[in-house]
Amino acid sequence: MDEATERSLVTRAQRGDASAFGELIGLTQAAVYHVCLRMMGERREAEDMAQETFVRVYERLHTFDPQRPFLPWVRRVAANYCLNQLARRAPVSTSFDDALDWPENRPGRWHDRQAEQARRVRAALLRLAPRQRAVVELRHFQELSYEEIAQALNLPISDVKSDLFRARRLLAEMLKDDPSN
């Protein structure tokens, strides 16, 4: 979709046009779902979080500047919302198996080796503390700068860096013994 079309959809949605908002959801829901899946780890939960994300997006739509790209904003809202939900919960001990409905667990879509790598990475991500996971999401998947992450999560840059660097060290340890290296 070109920028002009997107701008006009956003502007229409801001004026209360439900079908324009529906179109924006259609255009961004898959990406939002994948943010939520990386953050939450479980498909059903990721779908719920994606829906809740759009509720928040709708509530805050009037604050959004239509001159800016829509998708990055929505993905940031999703990461933030997931982090807030995770931060409220008691930490759970997580174990993962092939039964989880991750994209890489669906048969026939990926090469075995690639699927195995993706599973390991996803499981490793889910072993990080929620804030570390959010910082990795925003830096590696949403490609925000340290400053932008600090702004998105309302944290000092020094915390963003220490969470990110520590998360990477943990991930490096978890992925190091990967037999497919």
Binding site: H34, R44, E104, F165
Partner: protein, 68 residues
């Protein structure tokens, strides 16, 4: 020889070092196997994370199985 700190290695990979620091880090990495190995460990994390990027995976949500 003073090794590169973890922070410097991270900033290097994030391309967040100012040019003189980046050049100095590059020179050190070329001469230091220990720091190169640390950099390689960190780089692996970068490349592995890419396997979960939106562009790598099927973005079709599809119907979910009805299991209550």
């Amino acid at each position: 020889m003073t090794h590169l700190t973890e922070e410097t290695l991270n900033l290097f990979l994030d391309q967040a070092l100012a040019e003189p620091e980046a050049l100095a880090a590059q020179a050190h990495l070329a001469a230091c196997p220990a720091c190169s190995a640390s950099l390689a460990d960190l780089s692996l994390v970068f490349s592995r994370l890419e396997t979960l990027g939106d562009s790598q995976i099927d973005l079709d949500l599809g119907p979910r199985p009805c299991s209550g």
